[in-house]
Point group: C2
Chain length 315, copies 2
């Protein structure tokens, strides 16, 4: 039997998140039962599901669900669930902690590529002193593809440290702090300029496989790639071919079509690929909790959510 108002069960289901989440949620919702496994709930009692990469079909058993709160910025994994409840409002998080961690990651790897750490590591493996003169960041153009909250924050931080930062977006954005290229018409010019391309696009039918052999044929010679968006933005064989041909000099990959990346995958041992285990960023309870509290209040009151997701456009 579902209780109304400030009670019920909150299901928190997430891989690879901050371990303090369940405790923090329980503290924030003392009158709710916070559970981390569906089998520990009375399904009719679950009013809110806070999820990250849950098993397909998990949500359909909750007849009184009023909120699907995704524990991050990307919501594409929802669309692979054929049993996603159709009439339950969905929200994603815009978390200052998530934005800050992502910005630090992009700054770190842009600096590492600008300073040619992969090339210096190769030299170290050969006991070779290979002096490379340090250049100012202004000599390197970093192009951010995807100018949502994360992309804008990265662009501002890169420009702040002196990089020549530019952006590309599918549709026109207002108040951009950096030079912005818009849509398919501007993509070639964007690619001609960027020494480092940072993928921060949402995964939708319009962006899937965007980074294919045609795209990679048009990048600057020796450009580098950082993918912190989604694995399926990239055609894997095209990426490997571009690295092997020297068209791309290095790729830093945090996201993959299959995660964890299978042990036998060719990416692991490729000398021009740096792999991080989808840990570029993560939602932080301290900074995100307030938004979840507010969305649970709004959902139970039938109000419009913060950062609602539109299933028709996919984000």
């Amino acid at each position: 039997v579902r209780r109304s108002g400030q009670s019920g069960t909150i299901l928190f289901y997430s891989e690879a998140s901050d371990p303090s989440w369940p405790t923090e949620l329980q503290k924030a919702f003392p009158t709710f039962a916070v559970r981390t496994r569906p089998e520990d709930t009375d399904p009719t009692d679950v009013v809110a599901a806070i999820v990250w990469k849950y098993p397909a079909g998990m949500l359909q058993q909750f007849a009184n669900l009023r909120l699907i709160q995704v524990l991050g910025a990307g919501v594409d994994h929802l669309w692979s669930d054929p049993c996603l409840p159709k009439h339950v409002p969905i929200a994603r998080l815009v978390d200052p902690g998530l934005t800050a961690r992502m910005t630090e990651y992009v700054l770190l790897h842009s600096l590492a590529l600008h300073r040619r750490l992969p090339e210096l590591r190769s030299a170290q493996c050969k006991n070779t002193w290979r002096y490379l003169h340090p250049r100012p960041p202004a000599d390197t153009c970093v192009g951010i593809m995807g100018l949502g909250v994360l992309g804008r924050s990265c662009a501002a931080a890169l420009a702040g440290i002196g990089f020549n930062a530019i952006g590309w977006s599918r549709s026109r954005k207002s108040n951009m702090a950096v030079q912005t290229y818009i849509g398919a018409a501007d993509l070639d010019e964007f690619k001609r300029r960027a020494d480092i391309i940072v993928l921060l696009l949402p995964l939708t039918s319009a962006t899937e496989n965007l980074i294919d052999s045609h795209f990679l044929a048009g990048v600057r010679d020796g450009a580098a790639l950082i993918n912190v968006g989604r694995g399926a933005l990239i055609v894997e064989n095209a990426l490997i071919a571009a690295l092997d041909a020297g068209r791309l000099r290095h790729a830093v990959l945090d996201v993959f079509r299959t995660e964890p990346l299978p042990a036998e995958h060719a990416f692991w041992s490729h000398p021009k690929i740096t792999i991080t285990p989808h840990n570029s960023s993560a939602t932080n309870p301290a900074t995100a909790l307030g938004q979840i509290v507010e969305n649970i209040r709004r959902a139970t009151a039938g109000e419009k959510l913060l950062h609602p997701v539109d299933p028709l456009i996919g984000y």
Copy 2:
């Protein structure tokens, strides 16, 4: 025969510097002859020597030398020249470009250590997905040893991005933006706090071999080290022992007792050492030229130099 005033020969002698230096100097001093090899000069005509790691004895042949301008912040290599002319004023550079490149390097490697890139690289070498939750920079204390122009800039940038930055200095400094520990009395407390120790000390008789087994016994368990000061600050065997024992988790080394680092040196293949070829920073003609122009003017006019070096304290 030495010409007076705005003429004479300027000797520019430097390893591993921006290749545009001689051209830029000649443009700035059209009435002087700019030479890059002592054998291409009339020694009595040389009025200013702009140097970085010159062969010992090179300067004593220049009887009319009025300025030894070091092309960087560290001047310790001068003291290894037993024939350094005694009565010629010496200046070092405080170059905004040099400071900026150093700051970027320290930011890059502090972020890399904070985000555990060496550990993730080891995991990648084993085709292993090892998720490490991204922590905010505030969870990591970066301790800068040496609070001159470079150390202060690094401390400010680290604090600016959210690191818990602290500093240590031999003598009290004013107007420090970060918490500062002073002298031998504070060193143990400083070491107990720093997760990452950045060496930006000048090399003097007081700092040589400072990072020995005693020092390393007192650092935080699993601390990391970044050396952008001088190689001789560190006792090499003590460093390797601390890494092998796990007391230090990683060392990023840009400077070495012998440079280039000999091919047979144990540092090259140590799994917990990242080597860069003394390219953390370099003097930039665009930002440093004005200071050199001014010092040549002052030297020929007999005025006090910008950033004079005191041979008695060694920097």
